[in-house]
Assembly symmetry: C2
Homo-oligomer: 304 residues x 2
């Protein structure tokens, strides 16, 4: 079944302790949609300016991503620039230019409105809600978010959470959202805000998936051991895209915790590949067999 993905589409400048690259394809929707496209058909909703390289559009097309929901308007594309510190775990945003993104209102083509699986990738929660307003009740809705929205748009975020099935966020964001330092308690609180499921990403420490604790719905997903991280940008977006893609491919009548666990691993697999090179470069050569073999590696490193 297809997935609808809304989020940002950006031109990124990324600096790490060893390299710097400019005008890279970036943005939460770009990473998520390409990641999801390894599992199922993706429908993209986003906006770019008239400076957006046609090569990037062609890449989306080569991944069979539906671009009916991609708006291209006069002006400059959204630009983001960030720098990673020595340990690659700390990131500083150097500049953000919203440009055409500043007045973005996601508008869903008629052909998108019945999409059963939805990923609201990281953008303002009011825009995420606006997408849901235009849809028939999807089978499963995943939302990603970030610290910025918890700080400046918490009410919007809480309003959104009442409508989603799974919230993805990282450990520091979970603590920030709940004012709770224990992640087990934080996840229980977030489930109280609406989502039946919560995935807490912990970077190099993997990911925790929480469901109904009375049914023992808890899963600890390991991180793949990587000696060399080249660019962590988009890892979370690839995780979310792979997760929703794997769920859509499984396409259960009612999404089970078992399917969610497998989807979390699938998302982790794509994310682990993505950080091996800058921007989306690694995914350009990624093959389905690569995904299968690393999925098996995840099984091997966690089995005892």
């Amino acid at each position: 079944m297809p997935v609808l993905i809304v989020g940002s589409i950006a031109l990124d400048t990324v600096k790490t302790p060893v390299e710097e690259h400019a005008d890279l394809l970036g943005g939460s929707a770009s990473y998520s949609a390409v990641s999801a496209s390894f599992f199922t058909d993706a429908r993209l909703v986003g906006i770019v300016g008239d400076d957006f390289p046609s090569a990037h559009v062609d890449y989306f097309k080569s991944r069979r991503i539906d671009l009916a929901g991609l708006q291209q308007v006069a002006g400059s594309s959204f630009r983001w620039s960030g720098e990673y510190m020595t340990d690659m775990n700390t990131r500083e945003t150097r500049s953000v230019a919203l440009n055409v993104f500043e007045h973005f209102t996601p508008h869903l083509p008629e052909s998108y409105r019945q999409t059963p699986y939805v990923l609201l990738a990281n953008i303002a929660p009011s825009l995420q809600s606006h997408v849901l307003d235009q849809m028939a009740r999807p089978r499963f809705i995943v939302a990603d978010t970030m610290d910025l929205w918890i700080t400046i748009a918490k009410a919007d975020l809480l309003a959104l959470l009442a409508r989603v099935d799974l919230l993805i966020l990282n450990d520091s964001e979970a603590k920030m959202l709940t004012d709770e330092t224990n992640l087990i308690k934080a996840a229980a609180m977030i489930r109280g805000y609406g989502p039946a499921y919560v995935a807490i990403k912990k970077g190099e420490h993997g990911c925790l998936l929480f469901g109904d604790s009375t049914k023992d719905e808890f899963f600890s997903c390991p991180a793949f051991p990587l000696a060399n991280l080249h660019d962590p940008t988009g890892a979370g977006d690839c995780f979310a895209g792979g997760l929703i893609g794997a769920l859509a491919r499984a396409d259960e009548e009612t999404v089970t915790f078992e399917a969610l666990k497998k989807a979390v691993v699938s998302g982790s697999v794509v994310a682990s590949y993505n950080v091996e090179a800058f921007s989306l470069e690694r995914l350009r050569s990624l093959q389905p067999a690569d995904i299968e073999s690393r999925y098996a590696e995840f099984e091997r490193i966690s089995r005892f």
Copy 2:
């Protein structure tokens, strides 16, 4: 098969954000030996003063721990006092009084010298080496350490590492020892110092076990999800004790990576129980069936 455990035996004063308790049974050897005793017979090597409560000695005896290597001498027992901050992940040592521990030289009774499994729990690396000097070549030697020894006795520690099979340390210590921020690279460097295996503890993020990478020997052990931590003191010691105890119980001719993975889980199980109450209180009521059921939980939360 029996295990020999050498380390500190202390009277602890522990303060958490909600509680404070004084004169608790503590020390690396105490925690490790009690933990190991759930799996096999433990032989203790350590020193206490004449103020050491006989109730604590009786508790060791109730766990069938061999005390032939326990020296009781005139003077005060080793005392340690520490405080945990709000998130329970940060600890500050408030005071240390070495007392009788200052002039401790571990002396092994004849009956200990052929012990096949050895845990050199956290004490000065020169003392750990001194224990090995008195032994026939054991089948498997595990050493634990801490940041203090990396700072003040790195040469002694490196000399020890050439003689041990498995080094246990936490993530910050692994980075400190190797000047390397990536744990995969740090573990490979530590293996280069001698130990065939390295276990890197990551607190609430679980533990990584590294062996021969050309044989894909890597294991990511999850942490048990705990909403309430009452006292993290001794968690690492219980982990080490459970690990060596489980290895000794399995007693393979040559210790395999498969057995080490299971031993890491067994150690994690005991550690996860230990933090549920102050000092060794939770272990006093712990039953073998509890260990089995939580071991099964570790399987459940990591299976997909």
